[in-house]
Amino acid sequence: MNIIVCIKQTPDTEKVKFNPETRTLLREGVENIMNPFDMQALETALILKDKHGAKVTCISMGLPQATDVLKEALAMGADEAALISDRALAGSDTLATSTALAAAIKKIGDYDLILCGKQAVDGDTAQVGPEIAEHLGLPQITGTLKLEYIDDRFVAQRETDNYSETLACAAPLLVTVNNAEKEPRFASIKGKMKARKAKIPTWTIADLGLDPEMVGLSGSPTKVRKSFTPTPPEINSEIIAEEDADVAVDMLMEKLLKAEIFTR
């Protein structure tokens, strides 16, 4: 089985703080991490590898520093990795990004399963996975909670807004992962040593046979007109910091009743 996992390096958005007074983001000290959903995708690939045997290849598109997340993936148990990095890719929206990743997947060629995280925690679009699937003409299953290989088919569990589904599809296909069956594994010492020595190739768009017009800003149909920080709503917070729980609850009840919130 050949599995390709798409991985993005993102800022650790849970650690990004916002200064409400200056209305700016405090990015200082925020490190770059492997997108948590991509780590779930990688773990899903490694579970399949443990059970059925597979070659797991990881690709990432980004700046040269994104090799860090590819090395992390190798340390966890991936077999090979490649970085797509080119100045011409700057400013790519989801369509241009998916074009480049699909071209890289075509270059690798032999695959049964493409795995992506459900979405990246910085952009939160959840678009790149399905767009890659479309470029490659593959069926897709998005937001899986479990992925197994049973009787020559991939069987996935997925939850939509109000349904639980079990879906099946033969290879090749693309799956975006919400959660792996279990917590992502830690890298072993041996894995870390292997990763440290690994030479990760960098592919430019020329290596992928892409025209500069197809990627980057010129290949991106969406354009940001403006960005702004929203005005937070004026909230009159009444917070009770009373140590005696009974007194605190009485105070809260009084406020809630006064606001008539139970009779709305």
Partner: protein, 399 residues
């Protein structure tokens, strides 16, 4: 993107098969067939075809003036049991406003089975036109079949913009359509406007709602966006509104490869959908254990239309179903009362509940960000406070 053969026009002369440099064209039933996987979109066959039966697949109109030919704002409806989800009516309300500004029409697209009664309701809610694809094979949502049906409609009627709900399935479908039509898509919008130059301006949050970006798609058509539920208000139903209903039968041109083995309703521990709840009792990691969530169930149970929800941490820990997750990667809710219990209030969570009428927070950390959006709150141990609060509310309700 691959080349595509119009089977109606193809005369089976086989001249294209000779010129294809990668051998992607074969003959099937006397017509040329292009293998999309092999095709490198070089265009050699296009020039060779004597009857102009080959063209690039699904090319979106470019900015060379053809964008102006694209008209109307479409809402691609999501159905459940032959009814449109509430968010569809919200989007029709929004699309109706945009269409009026642009002097165009607001249209709805419904795909399903036995849905003949639905267009009247959609028209009463503000749709000027309803495109109906009603067939057995569309009974359940399938990415490939629905993508193809929408794309065939787009090719036939050339809309200016497509809006889809930012639900789980809406976000499965929209990028697939966008990639096939080679157009731009803006995810998870919280505001939409029509610019003076008649472009849809899509506004979406980034980094958990700390920054908003307004995005346009000025060259390709249709302009596309997914829009969160509960952002727009539906128009008042008005049975006197009139509209046109257009039946559409897509050509059979794709094969569905994903099989649904099972599909069952899942609202987690709730009897009603989270988005329909009037009161939500939500818990976070601070609840301490799965068992402690029984208290939230009890609190929610005190109210008619009460439901239990959780933050991402709780869902990831397996304490609750994914259908109960509130926040950036879960649902957006706007109940009358939102109890945030043991939730610290990561930006991702707050973006999903901050529009609730009244937010009541209980958390032991006085500096937790949840207190900055809460109307009322107690700083203390949620597992001590909550039972006492439940007793008080019970006593009040029994009065």
């Amino acid at each position: 993107m691959a080349m595509k053969v119009d089977r109606e026009k193809c005369i089976g002369c086989e001249s294209c098969t000779m010129v294809c440099p990668v051998g992607a064209i074969t003959m099937e039933d006397g017509k040329a067939l292009i293998d999309a996987e092999k095709c490198i979109s070089c265009g050699a066959c296009v020039g060779e075809c004597p009857v102009e039966a080959i063209a690039p697949e699904d090319v979106a109109p470019k900015a060379d003036g053809t964008a102006n030919e694209c008209k109307d704002i479409w809402v691609i409806a999501e159905l459940d049991k032959r009814e449109a989800l509430p968010v569809v009516y919200e989007l029709i309300g929004a699309a109706n406003g945009l269409a009026q500004k642009a002097g165009e029409k607001c249209c709805a697209v419904i795909i399903g089975k036995d849905i003949a009664k639905l267009p009247a309701k959609l028209i009463a809610s503000g749709a000027d036109k309803v495109y109906v694809v009603d067939n057995e094979k569309y009974a359940d949502y399938h990415t490939e079949l629905y993508t193809d049906a929408v794309c065939q409609l787009v090719e036939a009627y050339k809309p200016s913009a497509l809006m889809l709900p930012a639900t789980i399935d809406g976000r499965d479908l929209a990028p697939r359509i966008a990639a096939r039509l080679h157009t731009g898509l803006c995810a998870d919008c919280t505001a939409i406007d029509m610019t003076d130059d008649k472009l849809v301006a899509w506004t979406r949050p980034a980094l958990g709602g700390n920054i908003y970006a307004t995005i346009v798609c000025d060259e390709t058509r249709p302009q596309m966006g997914t829009v969160r539920p509960k952002v727009f208000k539906p128009l008042e139903m008005d049975a006197s509104r009139t509209g046109e209903v257009i039946e559409f039968v897509p050509q059979d041109r794709v094969e569905n490869k994903v099989e649904i083995l099972s599909k069952a309703p899942n609202m987690g521990s709730n009897a009603i959908k989270l988005e329909d709840a009037i009161v939500i009792a939500a818990g976070g990691r601070g609840m301490g254990s799965k068992e402690n969530f029984d208290k939230l169930t009890e609190l929610a149970g005190l109210f008619e239309k009460g439901a239990v929800a959780g933050s991402r941490a709780v869902i990831d820990a397996g304490w609750m179903s994914h259908s109960q997750q509130v926040g950036q990667s879960g649902k957006t809710v706007t109940p009358n009362i939102y109890f945030a219990c043991g939730i610290s209030g990561a930006v991702q969570h707050i973006s999903g509940m901050k529009e609730s009428d009244i937010i009541v927070a209980i958390n032991k950390d006085a500096s937790a960000p949840i207190f900055s959006v809460a109307h009322y709150g107690i700083v203390g141990d949620v597992n001590v406070i909550l039972p006492k609060l439940i007793e008080k509310i019970k006593a009040y309700k029994e009065q």
